[in-house]
Each structure stands twice: as C-alpha cells, then as structure tokens.
Amino acid sequence: MKQTTDSLQDPNEQDLWTAGHTEGYADTDALRTAQASQAYASQAYTSHPDAFRADGMFMAQGPAAGPATHMPEGPGPYETSSDDIFSPRRRFLSLLALKERLKPFFGTKIAKSSGRAKLIAVGFLCLYGVIAVRLVYFALHPEAPQELRRGDQVAAARPDLLDRNGEVLATDVKVMSVFAEPRRIIDKDEAVELLTAVLPDVDAADLRKRLGTRRGFIWVKRAITPKQREEVHHLGLPGVGFLAENKRVYPNGPLAAHVLGYANLDGAGISGLEKYIDGQGLADLSGAGFKLTQQDLKPIVTSLDLKATYAVRDELAKGIAHYKAKAGAACIIDVNTGEVVAMASLPDYDPNTPADALDPNHINRLSVGVYEMGSTFKAISIAMALDAGKVNLNSHVDARDSLRYGRFTIHDFHATHRILSVPEVFTHSSNIGTARMALMVGVEGHKAFLRKMGQLNRLVTELPESAEPLVPKNWGELNTITISFGQGLNVAPLQAMMAVGALVNGGIMMKPTFLKRSVEEAQRNAPRVVKPETSEAMRYLMRLNAEIGSARLADIKGYYIGGKTGTADKIVHGHYAKDKVFTTFMAIMPSDKPKYLFLTLMDEPQGLPETGGYRTAAWNAGSVTARIIERVGPLLGIPPRLDLPTQPFPLLAKLGYGYANVPQTRGGPVH
C-alpha cells in the first residue's frame, strides 16, 4: 500500500519511466495487482458483470467527489474489490497473461501525447491550408460556378416606360400565380390530377416530378386568370397557394418592340430598354432583396412618340407589302438632340409573346443589322471634301470618263459624260465625282473623317443590341473610292443617321438616344465635327436634290424637305447581284432649319409597272418616306408652311452663293 503511494508520488517521473520500460514495474506486488486489475477492467465491462459494477461504483464516486479529494484512499477499495473478485478465478491466470500481452492494444500511453499533439498540429495545418487554397482558387477564378438559381422568385416590379408625351409603352400589372409547397402536400397524385384538370396547359408529368422533390416552393403556373384562380382555390388543396406577381405588359403590341425589348416572367429585363434599366441598378436592387413597388420606381420617359411610331410602322408595312420587299425599317430622329422619335423594323414581334423575338429575321435592322448604305454615304463624302476645303460649291469635277483604278472601273449609274459642279455630283449621284472628291482628301483623311463621324466603331446607345461595322482590313485607295459612294463599308443604319444628322444640324455630333432629353442636355458633351458652313451647304444640297434631283418624290409641299437616295447592290455569294438591291432614303425636314431626319430602308424591294420596273431607292424607300412625312409632320407639331422661307441658307448667301432656291438645270431621272 505504502509502496503504491510512493511510486505514484511523482507521476511525471513515473511517466518517463513507463515510457522506457512499460513492462518493468510489474514485479512489485501492489503494482502487479493494479495492473492486472486494469487489464481486467479493460475487458471487464464486456465480459464480467461484477467487475463492471466495481468500476461503476468507482465511477460514481470519482467525478462527484472531485478529483482532488478522493485520491488518498484511491487504491484502497480498488485493491480489495479486485481481490474479492479475483481470488476465485486464479485458474484463469494463464488467460490473463494473454490479456496482458494484448494490453498495449487496449490501454493508452500518456508518453505519446506530446508527439501526437504535434501530429494533430500538422493535421490542423493541412486543414487551414485547404481553406487557404480554396480562397486563393476563388480569387483566381472569379467566373467559377455561378450556379443556376434565382429560379423561383416573385417577379420584381419594374418602372413604367412612357413615350415622350407620357403615353404608356410598358407597365406592370398584378397577376396571381399558383405555387405549391411540396413538403406540405399530402397526396401528390391527387394534387397533380386536380391541378392539371383546372390548369390544362400544365404538364402533368413535369408537375409530378417537381412535387416529388423536397423543395419548399415551386411554381405551378405563373399569371393565371381570375377564373382559374377561383377554381384552384375551390380545390382546397393544402400546400397550394397564390402569390400576387408583377407581369410586364406592352399595351401597344409590336409598336417600338425593338426599342422596348422585353422582360421575362421573373421581371428581369432581357433585351432593349428593359435590359438597359436593369443595368442601371434595378437588377442589383431587386437582386439584393429590396422589395420595390411600382410606386417606388420613377417611370422612365423614352424619346419615342407613340403616335409617330404607329404612323411610321403603318406606312412602312404598307410600303413593304406594296414593293414586295423582304424587310424594311424606318426611323425618325431629332437632329438637334439625337433623340429617336420613332422607330420601326419589320418584320417585328409582339413583346407580349417574347419567344418570337428570338427569330433571327426579327432583328432590329436599324441597329443590329449592318449594311452598305449606298449613295446616302455620298453626303458624307461631299461634306468631307467641302469641310476640308478641297472643293466648294462652285468647284467642278471631271466625270467625263469612267474612273479606272487598277483593273477596276467605276461607272456612273446614269453617266453624264461631262464636267459636273459639286451640286450636280450630288443631284446626279455621280460615283465618279464623289470618288474624285474623296481621293482629293486622301485615304488617311477619309478614314479619320469617317472615324470622327462614328462610322468605324460600334455605335453604343441605350439598346444593348448593337453591331460592329464591317470595316475593310487593308484600306487602300480603292476602298476609299468605293466607300465614298457607299459600297465596301457596312454600318448600322442608325449610325449613318447619326452622321447625316450631324452634317445637317449645324455640325454637332449627337449620339442617338432612346431617352427623352432637352437640347441643352444633348449639346453638353456633343463635339463639333464639321463647320456650320459645311452643314448649311449639305442642307442646301439635300434641298436641291429634293427640288431637282433624285429626292423629288419626297418633296412634300410645305415642309421644305431635303433628301438623298441610296441604292446598293446586295452581295450574294461574294458578288454584287444586279437584281437584288438594298435601298435607303434619308430626308431632312425642314431644310432651312432641320428638326427631323427621316430614314427608310428596304431590303430587296421589287420593281413595279408603275415605277417603270425600277427598284431604285427613290421609287420605294423615297415614296414611303414621303408618306411618312405627310402623316407624321402634323403629329410632330410641324404644320406645313404655305410660303417657302425667303432666306433659307443665310451663311451661303453671305459667302456669295446667291443661287440658293434657284434650280439650275433640271437633273436627270429620279433615281
């Protein structure tokens, strides 16, 4: 007994000692007993009920008495109890010896704890290492799994879209949607059967599958009618309910569909202005969980005029039907602010059935399509030569012979075979004359001017859909020649309108916008691109062209129209096809102080008997523009003037061009 206490006096020493000679201390009597009993104890609670009770007794005593108090008498009862149990079973001693051999398997060795603590430290190091690696992985792969979700959410409110006069173009209506909570549904088959009976267009198999999940929430059907709501309500299914949602409606159907774009069932903008307003922070707000109501959101006033848009689309549709064109588009912009007042591109779609928008034939031809603009580009080329001071309105260029460049020869469509004045080049739409003027400026000057006019870069507006112009890679003199009359450079029509608008509005580049803005706002950051004199010369030329040139058909009395036609042969299989054309017509109104620029374009219009079989721009795009001007003029608040302005081009008059308004010789045929 005393010996036991002694040997336990210094556990630390004993500890070290045990580490070296584990079996060593088995020869002292007391220790032998202790050890044996422990060996016994380690198997006791599996084999012997008595021993278990002995240990159990000790256990009950142990923690309750507290570690410091029970120690002195510790070995006492233990030894006796083990003796009591032991004495009758000495015949099992040989068996116990075996158990002692196995003891290291069952016991623990405190001497190992230091090393093992270090082992655990290594384990933790690895654990934190994994966490750090994962963090670094996220930092290096910012595009990593952005998982599919945000599926089942209530459609967020969106601001109304209004036209410039406050008419509604897009708004939210409250609709009811049916949802189910699969976890709360008792009989799934019954629920599927009843729900599909009331809502026949819900797919039964799909609904059953989704109800079979353990999700908390699924949509059964979005946007149901009040009658359906009533019927579902009367089914009395537990776990099926209704939520009021916002559904986006476009009360004007296809009008301005390309501008508005559309929003999906969850209230996320997918295209057009709807997508643009999401990008302005709306999506962030609703994504961040702000519950926005219609009242919180200020309506967005667009630049469109609903009535004008209707008239434009209507006239365009009639024109396309009449001239059997494949497609067409028309647009009106305010040249002083860059606002798009009306826009239509046919064929179009109804944003209330957004699936139609995906048809590639339904693209917005004004901003997503890029085309060779044909002779309307001559306006830009002549303005460039005028602005650079290479020519003035009294200059003459030689158009007697075709222009040869290498193995290419440039002809005029209606060759005059004489020396033409600059206005004649414009009214006769002379390719040769325009090309010669562009060559005076040179390749680099031409490129620089077109870049300044925004023709070589993607036009960025509020509409997310836009196309990059197709610019020749190696731009040589031949490219300058062809591009000067509108072949060889594909731009978006809206882009060309922006340039022509700048040429006629006094020389300020106004980026087109679909949001309403004032002249002051528009001019704040608008750069000047040509001199005011050049701009006035262009207005004069366009007016002249409407009086005596190819734009005569569009000269609506009282509006003092100016215009330019453009007919480009379409490229089919890498060659210009003679029978397939792309026609454009640009008109300004009024020419003395332009407010609006009109563009109409037609894809593959056909010649008709009444046009003498001609399919050139004046006949189709030009006459459609004329109809549009006639209808839209009063709508836009511009009444026809009974008498023409007496001094329409004061700057030119000052410079000595007194012949304004006095037609010289009547130009060629209307083309």
Binding site: L8, A34, K109, S114, F124, Y128, I131
Partner: protein, 380 residues
C-alpha cells in the same frame, strides 16, 4: 505595476501568460467588431432594427467577454478543473431545463434564460476529459479512460436531443482527438478510422439515401432537381464578387440576401467587402492560434495542462475550420459560428471561457509548482 522584481498577482500573470496567444485573440475580437459592422446592418434592417443594433450589442457583449477571459486566465489548473466541473453540472442542468421548458427556435430547444447552455458545456467538457485522460495516463488507480468513455455519451445525448448536431460533431471530434493524443494504439486509430471510411464507402455504394445526400452536396442539380443551396451559393457569390481586395466596406450587395450574414456567414461577407486577402489574413490568425496552442501544449510538462490546452485549442480550431469550410462550400452547412468574429453573446462568452482556460493552463509555471500540486493532490 508590472515588474519582474515585485511579484504582484497581476505582474505574475503578465510574465507567465502567453502574450502572443492573448494578442491574437484580442485582434480577433477587434476584427469581429469591424466585420459585424459590415455584416449585420442588412440583417438588422431586415428585422426592422436600427442599422447598428447588432454592433452595439456586440460591443456590450465584449465587456463581459473580456472580463471572463481575464479572470479565468488567473486560475490555477486545479481551480480550472473545479470551475469546469461546476460549469459542466450547471450547464447540463440548464440543457435539461431547456429541453423540458425551453421554447423552440428554428426547430431546436437550445435556449433558456437567453443563453445557450451547450456553448458553456463544451469547454467544461473538454477540461473534464483532459483531466480524465491525464489521470488515466499517470495513475493506475483512476480508470481515466473509462471515465472519458462514459463522459462522451453523457454529454452528447442531451445535445442530440435538442437537436444540435453541429455541437455534437464538435464535441465528439475533440473527444476523439484527445483520445488519440492520450496514446490510443495505432491499431484502433487505423481500425476505427478505416472502419469509418470503408463503412462510409459501403454506405455510399449501397444505401441510396446516403448516396443522395453526398451527391446533393457535390452537385446540387442531381437528386431530382433539388436545388436548396441558397445559403452556400450566395456565400460563394460573395467570395467571387469580392475578388482579391473586395468591394470595399459597406459596398457589398450579396450580403443583403445572405441569411445569417452576421453570424454563420460573416466570413463570406468579409470575402465580399474586404476581399480574399483579408480572408487569408483571418485564416492565418486562426492557424497561428491553433498551432501555437498545440505546440505549447506538446511542450507542457503537466499532463493535465497538456491535454486541456490541446483540447481547448482543438475546440477552437475545429469550430473555426468548420465555419470557414461551410462558407467555402467545402462541407455541408452546419450551424457554427466563427470564433470571436461572429455576432452572438453566448458564443462570445463561452469562447472567452475556453480561451481563458487555455491561457490559464498554458501559463508558465516553475517545475516545482507542478510537482507540488501533484503532491498536494495525492497527499493532502
């Protein structure tokens, strides 16, 4: 005041505590306050409270936290054992009271009198286990291993009744690690570990339910279109949108839809607003505390202190690692806070208790004191 020559109790404390450990823990508390400022306003607004409600509360909780940490670190190992026993008994009683009288919060009965007694049970349990292993290893007359074996079910069964599987897991892991440290034969370590792994593999192969759970964790899309991983996905979005240096304090947007942004998912908020660099800094502080705690424990000569320090450090380390791993979608969601950083009074004070114990048992003591104490224990 704090001089080596005059041994006032405070001076004695200052020269014997591990100041590195103390400094890192204080740094975590400061970081926690800053991050609560980032993570809690959206939650407070969602609950209709004032914007900095949780920040103010956190500051208030820090006062008792610091007091507990400071006072507990003064205890001698024997006082540590005694207070642990008392705390263990009281928290056990409170857990049972909560089971019987507590009201349900989020499907579990964990709270009573505004505290979560299981938080206080953990450090007390670790101390008792450490005592059991130390005694079992040094003295042949105390069946320490058996006590340790019995303490585990005693502790985790009430926890499982709550139910609180996160705490159960934590307590069991620390217990197993301490058992391993106590020198369990490799035969058992490998045997039990191997049995666990092969059992898991067999279960994965043959039990469809287990396989579904694992697959769901690995790829939420499988398992019949069950996509119920909003929290972790949002947390991942936070890290991704933050990048290396974050969006800047208060600039986070993902945190607005992140549930528990101020508690369990504060690490993700850190990632969004302060960037992954800041997250790595936090990871390194935790790693430093844990490694320092474990290495100091390995070098400690008193077996009880060695086990207690290792156990408390592991408690702290496993909790932090689980929280960060859940945030990073390395393991399925478990309700576990990030020590000293997440908001929460019970959690803070229980951590202060644990770290106070840790600092107390790691205090440098002359060898003679250790022996004297052991003598006293045996003789007195």
């Amino acid at each position: 005041m704090i001089s080596r020559a005059e041994r006032s109790p405070l001076a004695n404390w200052w020269w014997t505590v591990d100041r590195w450990l103390l400094a890192s823990v204080l740094m975590l508390m400061v970081l926690g306050l800053v991050l609560t400022m980032a993570g809690s306003p959206p939650v407070a607004e969602r609950l209709g409270l004032s914007t900095f409600h949780f920040v103010h509360r956190q500051v208030l909780y820090l006062i008792p936290t610091l007091a507990v940490l400071f006072l507990v670190s003064f205890l001698t190992p024997r006082q540590v054992r005694r207070s642990a026993l008392i705390i263990y008994v009281i928290s056990m009683a409170l857990i049972f009271a909560a089971l019987l009288f507590g009201h349900e919060v989020k499907g579990a009965r964990r709270w009573i009198f505004g505290i979560q007694p299981s938080e206080f049970l953990k450090p007390a349990f670790v101390i008792l286990i450490a005592w059991a292993f130390a005694e079992g290893g040094t003295r042949r007359d105390v069946p320490g291993n058996l006590i340790a074996l019995l303490l585990l079910p005693m502790t985790i069964i009430p926890l499982m009744l709550q139910p609180d599987f996160g705490q159960t897991l934590l307590v069991s892991l620390v217990w197993a690690a301490l058992f391993f440290m106590a020198g369990l034969h490799w035969f058992w370590v490998i045997g039990i570990g191997g049995a666990g792994i092969s059992g898991g593999l067999l279960a994965y192969k043959f039990v469809p339910h287990v396989r579904a759970r694992v697959l769901k964790f690995l790829d939420p899309g499988t398992g019949g279109g069950i996509v119920d991983t909003f929290q972790v996905d949002t947390a991942l979005d936070s890290f991704l949108s933050g990048g290396w240096f974050g969006k800047g304090p208060g600039e986070g947007t993902v945190k607005r839809i992140l549930p528990d942004a101020h508690t369990d998912f504060i690490f993700a908020v850190t990632g969004e607003e302060f960037g992954i660099a800041a997250c790595l800094f936090i990871v390194s502080i935790f790693a430093f505390i844990v490694l320092r705690g474990l290495l100091l424990s390995a070098n400690n000569e008193d077996p009880f202190c060695r086990f207690a320090a290792a156990g408390l450090t592991m408690l702290f380390g496993i909790q932090s690692a689980i929280n960060m791993a859940v945030n990073l979608h390395l393991m399925p969601a478990k309700g576990m806070t990030l020590p000293f950083i997440s908001y929460g009074g019970s959690s803070l004070i229980s951590l202060a208790l644990a770290i106070g114990f840790l600092i107390a048992v790691l205090r440098k003591r002359p060898r003679s004191t250790i022996f004297l104490e052991q003598d006293g224990k045996v003789l007195a």
